[in-house]
Symmetry: C2
DNA sequence: CCTTAAATTGAACGATCGTTCAATATTGTC
DNA sequence: GACAATATTGAACGATCGTTCAATTTAAGG
């Protein structure tokens, strides 16, 4: 028996109301603050009190809007994941419409560039999110989130690359793809290392993006054609 | 004035004693347990109580042997760092003695293979340490540890690679090197992803190592010769 | 064997953790 | 404007955190 009454006696279900602007703003500012603090200090390192303070909200508001700390973390990751996936899939679709057959270089660009452009555009929230993606991808404790948010799109691109290497088995392709993804994520997690090892000789973000795509393209080709 | 008395009145410095076998075993078991739990749950996620319990020791023994949680973490990272650096530098030295001039492939192998062999040999402690290295390398909070433990050796290899690309500026070389290192670390952090994306088609560790070296060698060459 | 430095033990410290609650304030809906 | 669903507030909950302490046990040095 569902709660929806089909018949004679309407069980007086409490009338629903729309969310107020203030409530939505609170919910969003909590997500923003959590995005920043989780990416800076990790899951256990960021307390709900610090998140609430950074959001200008009460600690109880976090439970009210986002159930618990764990679901708050999941919602932070999920929020921009679909947007990122859509950008990647759109780029791939546009590519397949433009040129047939597609090149490995173009497929990798379709996957890598949306992340790099979002992470490098200067938006501190997207920069924090980029670090968060790297953190989730590297930690086995969050592998269910990765499976849900990132693996489906990754599977599409791996399948697309597999068409370009029909003689290579899929496991080798997946491994090379993970090499490429981790190199991409390193631009978020190791930006301080890059600055240190490079000796202050900063490069523009789009130059780094070009270098990454060239690196991954040649790397995959060498690893998969062997 | 030092505590060592040079002259007439020996100020009765308390007689020192050697460490007992039990004490040393306790200290080591704490390091081992911390290595495992830190790599599984992160720094804040692993409590000193859990570490003590896993080590079969008292919580107070952790402070006694390793001062604090933070220095315990640093000692865990430092313990095997010098061994790893030595293996890499030895491989590089042997390489330079064997062939002159050296090849990019051989230099990268000298850096990558010691890590892969230690992480893939089956020793659960080294496997945990490999994940820990990935965690430290990716987290800006531990960048002082990375600078101390890993960057010096990385600098040696970057300088060696720079000799092979005399026309390329060092920042581009450092970036490509970080791409390679992060791809290496992904074999520790994303082993579960590799198994998932590869569809159960497991590869032997040495095959993965070969694939990684080919990937990085070709990637660097393409990124640096452009 | 005796002395005593070193090490272990169990309990306790104050601080902070994530979560919950009743009371109050806000605001969409009629 | 009145009603009630929604949202905010401030305080408190028990649990766990890293650290410290005095008392006890262990074992190296003479």
């Amino acid at each position: 028996m569902s709660s929806k009454s089909p018949g004679s006696v309407p069980p007086s279900q409490p009338r629903r109301r729309a969310v107020s602007k203030r409530s939505l703003a609170t919910s969003l500012s909590i997500l923003d603050a959590a995005e920043r603090l989780f990416s800076e200090r990790g899951y256990e390192g960021a307390s709900v009190r610090d998140i609430a303070k950074a959001a200008g909200a009460q600690i109880a508001s976090i439970s009210f809007h986002h159930v618990s700390k764990e679901t708050l973390f999941e919602r932070v990751v999920e929020r921009r994941a679909s947007e990122l996936s859509q950008l990647r899939l759109d780029a791939l679709a546009a590519l397949k419409q433009r040129q047939q057959p597609v090149t490995l270089d173009a497929v990798l660009s379709a996957f890598l560039r949306p992340y790099l452009e979002k992470a490098g555009a200067g938006d501190p929230q997207w920069l924090a999110y980029a670090r968060l993606v790297a953190m989730v991808s590297a930690d086995a404790r969050w592998h269910t989130i990765s499976e849900r948010c990132f693996d489906p799109t990754a599977g599409v691109f791996i399948a697309e690359i597999a068409k370009l290497f029909p003689r290579t088995d899929s496991s080798a392709i997946a491994v090379s793809f993970i090499f490429s993804v981790s190199a991409m994520l390193s631009l978020s997690t190791s930006s301080w290392r890059i600055e240190a090892l490079a000796g202050g000789n900063r490069q523009a973000m789009d130059q780094l993006a070009d270098q990454l795509v060239r690196f991954c393209e040649a790397g995959m080709r060498a690893a998969l054609e062997a």
